[in-house]
Symmetry: C2
Subunit: 411 residues, 2 copies
C-alpha cells in the first residue's frame, strides 16, 4: 500500500507538476480552492489512518478524525467506481469488532413489521433474490465547509469541514428488500417507513436512544432498497458496513445502515436521536426536531476533479463527476470564467443508472493566467444546481456550484 | 490483506458451508466441477503470490506460476467490476521494475505511422481527450483446461490449464487512440493494423523478435482503442500494465499491451513471434503461422459462479456472468439438468456496455441430490455458445457451455 501510495501521489495526485518537470516545460503551475479553503485541509492530512482502515491508501485520503476520512479531490477518478482503498469514511459510532466478518453468511438480521417476522441469515437472504445497483454514497455533510466559510458573527455550524471528498460511486449486490418482505407474507399493518438498525456496540453509560444508529426512510423506497453483502465485486469490508448493509439508493450516507441487524416496516419514524433531532434541516443556531425535513434524498450535484494543478496554456480537458440523487443527471455545464459563461460538457463512459454518478469532460483552450473553473449539473427532472445552497444549521445537503469552484493558475 | 483473505475464504468463498453449520441446517453440501477438473487446481493453489502482486488477496486466487494467476470461481462476484485484488494475471515476459511508476505522467509513448510522428508523455495524452470503457479482460487461453481434458492418444496442448478464472470485467479511462492520431495529422500511408509494443525489459541472450510483446490488431479498432492510465477508479497498477496500457475492447488479453511504449499504424502485422506464430488458431500438433486466424475477437461466453457448494434443497439463486466479446450479450439460458432443458435467466444490474460482462440470475427450486448446472449465452448478433468448442492446438478461445458446467450435490 505504501509504495502504491507514493506512486499515486507523485504520478496521479500531483502528476501534472511531475510532468511539467519531466517533459521540460516551463515552471510548474499550481491550483487551489478559494484561499480560505486551503488552511483546514492540510493539517488533518498528516494524521495516520486508524487501525480498522489501515489497509486503505493513505496518499489518497485526508484523515479528519478516526471516524471522518475524506477522499482527496485529485484521487477521484473518471472510471466511475470508487475503489474501497480510497472511499471516504464516516461513522457515528465505533465499528463493531471485525470478528463479525468471521462467518459472513451466518450474520443474522431480524425482519419485523411483516406478517411472518423472523430472523434470517445472509445465506438465507441469498436464496431470496439478487439485485445489483450502482449508487453515489455520500455523507449528508459533504460540502459543509462551503457553508462554514460563509458564517458571520456568532454563527456556528459544527461538524467535519468536508469539501467534495465525502462521496464515492460504488456498485452493490444484495437481495431486494421487497423480495424479503414478500417472502415473509408482506407488510403487517400500516407501514409508512423502513427502519434499519445498525449492529454497532453502543458505548456504556449513555442512553441507547441517544447513540444508536437507527434511521427511518419512507416506505416508497421499498422498490429500490437492497440488503447488500457485496461492494465493487468483493464482500463488503467492515469499514463500509459488512457483512450486510442496507442500501437506500439516492439517499445520503447515514440512511445506508452498516452491519444492519434489524429492518422493520414501521408506521412511525424511529425516535432515536439520530433520526428525531439529528440530520434535520433547520436554521443556524436552531435545534433539530421531528417537524423539520429529514436529510434523506440527495440533491443534484457536481464537481471538477481535474485540472487541479500543473495546467499549462493550451488545450486542457476539464473533467469531473455529476449525479442527480434520486434522478438521473441529464446535463453538466462548465464555466472557466467563474460562472459568467457556461458550456455544455459531454458525459463519458457507461451510464451506471440513475443513482450513480457520471464522469464528464469539456475540452477547453486555456491561456496562461488565473481561471476560475466551475461545473453545474441538471437532473432529469430539471433541477439545476444553484449558485449557493441555502445555509442550514447542520451544514447538510450542500449542492451550490460556487463552493467547489476551483481557481487554477495556468502557466 | 491476510485477514481480509481469511474472511473472504470463510465467509464468501465457502460461505454456504459456514452457514449450514451456523444456521443449524443439515449436513453441508459440496460441489465440484466434473471429477477430472479438480486435480490440477488444488496443488497450484498452495503456491505463494510473487512479490510484484504480493498486495493481491491470496485467498481469492490460484497461483499456477509467477506469471499465471487465476481468480477462483467462487471469488467472481455479481457487482460487475473485478477488483484488482482478485483480477487474474498472465504475463508473457517479466514485468518491468515498478520504478516505471515513479512518474506516471512522465511515461513516454512513441506514436508512429502518422503524418507527424511524435513521442508523447501521459500528461500530454491527458490533454488530448478522455474516454471510459468497461471491458472483459480475458486470457486467450481461459478455459484451456476443458480442451486438455478431452485430449486423446498422443495429443498435447501445452499452456496453463485455466478454467474460468483468467477473466475479469474492469473499467478503464484513457485517451481515444483516434484523438491521438488526429492530433498528429492522421494516418500516414496505407494503415491496415494498429501495432502496440510493450515496455518489458527483454531477457538477454534471446532474439528480441522471439520474446518482445508486440501485437497487431485490425485498423477497424481505431474507433474503440484507448490508451488507458486508470482502471476501476485508480491509476493502473504495474501488474495490470500501468502507467499506460493499450486497451482493445472485445479483444483477448494478449492484445491489450501493458506499459505500452510504441503504438504504430502499420500496413503489415508485426513479425514478432507472439503475433506471427503464437496465438494462432490451428490444429493440435500443428505449428502456428501467419496464414492462420489470429486470436483477436473474443467469442460469446458465460459461466455460473454460484452455487458452488453449500446448496440445500429448496429455492436457490443460480448466478453467473456472461459477455459477447465484440457484441452485447443479449440472452442467457440456464440448465439444471446438464443441458437437457433450458430456462432463460434475467440480467441484473447496470449494463456497462457491449464489451463488458453482465451478471445473470435464475431462481430455481432444487431437490436434494446431484444436479448439473450449465449456462449458455447468446450475443446481439445471434451467436450462441456451442456445447463444445472446436479443439485447437493452442487451447484458445474456448466458449463451449459443457466444459464449465458444474455438478452440484444438494443436501
Amino acid at each position: 500500500m505504501g509504495d502504491k501510495g507514493v506512486i499515486d501521489r507523485r504520478g496521479f495526485l500531483a502528476g501534472g507538476t511531475g510532468l511539467a518537470v519531466a517533459a521540460g516545460f516551463g515552471s510548474a503551475a499550481s491550483a487551489q480552492e478559494p484561499a480560505p479553503a486551503q488552511a483546514p485541509a492540510a493539517p488533518p492530512a498528516a494524521k495516520p489512518l486508524p487501525a480498522y482502515v489501515a489497509w486503505k491508501d493513505p496518499e489518497t485520503l485526508i484523515v479528519h478524525s478516526n471516524q471522518t476520512i475524506e477522499t482527496k479531490r485529485g484521487a477521484i477518478g473518471t472510471s466511475l467506481v470508487t475503489d474501497e482503498d480510497r472511499l471516504y469514511i464516516r461513522n457515528n459510532v465505533n465499528p463493531p469488532p471485525d470478528s463479525i466478518l468471521a462467518d459472513r453468511d451466518g450474520w443474522r438480521v431480524e425482519i419485523a413489521g411483516v406478517r411472518e417476522p423472523r430472523t434470517l441469515t445472509v445465506a438465507e437472504l441469498k436464496g431470496l433474490g439478487l439485485a445489483t445497483v450502482a449508487t453515489v454514497l455520500q455523507c449528508s455533510g459533504n460540502g459543509r465547509k462551503y457553508f462554514q466559510d460563509k458564517l458571520t458573527g456568532g454563527q456556528k455550524i459544527s461538524g467535519t469541514p468536508w469539501t467534495v471528498g465525502a462521496a464515492g460511486c460504488v456498485i452493490w449486490s444484495g437481495v431486494p428488500l421487497k423480495a424479503v418482505v414478500e417472502a415473509l407474507g408482506g407488510a403487517d399493518g400500516r407501514a409508512r417507513f423502513i427502519t434499519g438498525t445498525g449492529g454497532e456496540e453502543l458505548p456504556a453509560g449513555l442512553k441507547p436512544k441517544d447513540v444508536i444508529v437507527e434511521r427511518s426512510v419512507p416506505i416508497a423506497n421499498l422498490d429500490t432498497v437492497i440488503l447488500a453483502w457485496e461492494m465493487n465485486g468483493k464482500p463488503i469490508s467492515l469499514a463500509h458496513g459488512g457483512p450486510l448493509r442496507m442500501i437506500v439508493p439516492g439517499y445520503s450516507g447515514v440512511n445506508n445502515i452498516k452491519y444492519v441487524k434489524t429492518v422493520a416496516l414501521t408506521e412511525q419514524e424511529t425516535d432515536a436521536k439520530i433520526q428525531a433531532s439529528s440530520y434535520r434541516m433547520h436554521g443556524v443556531g436552531e435545534k433539530g426536531s421531528p417537524s423539520q425535513p429529514s436529510v434523506w434524498e440527495q440533491p443534484v450535484r457536481s464537481w471538477i476533479t481535474a485540472p487541479l494543478e500543473g495546467a499549462k496554456a493550451g488545450r486542457n480537458q476539464i473533467v469531473g463527476v455529476a449525479f442527480g440523487g434520486m434522478n438521473a443527471v441529464s446535463r453538466v455545464e462548465v464555466s472557466v470564467d467563474g460562472g459568467a459563461t457556461w458550456r455544455e460538457a459531454a458525459f463519458v463512459g457507461p451510464d451506471l443508472g440513475r443513482f450513480a454518478w457520471r464522469a464528464f469532460v469539456l475540452p477547453v483552450d486555456l491561456p496562461a493566467g488565473r481561471h476560475v473553473l466551475a461545473s453545474r449539473a441538471t437532473d432529469a427532472k430539471g433541477n439545476v444546481q444553484p449558485e449557493e445552497s441555502e445555509i442550514n444549521g447542520g451544514g447538510y445537503s450542500h449542492n451550490g456550484w460556487r463552493g467547489p469552484a476551483l481557481t487554477v493558475e495556468v502557466a
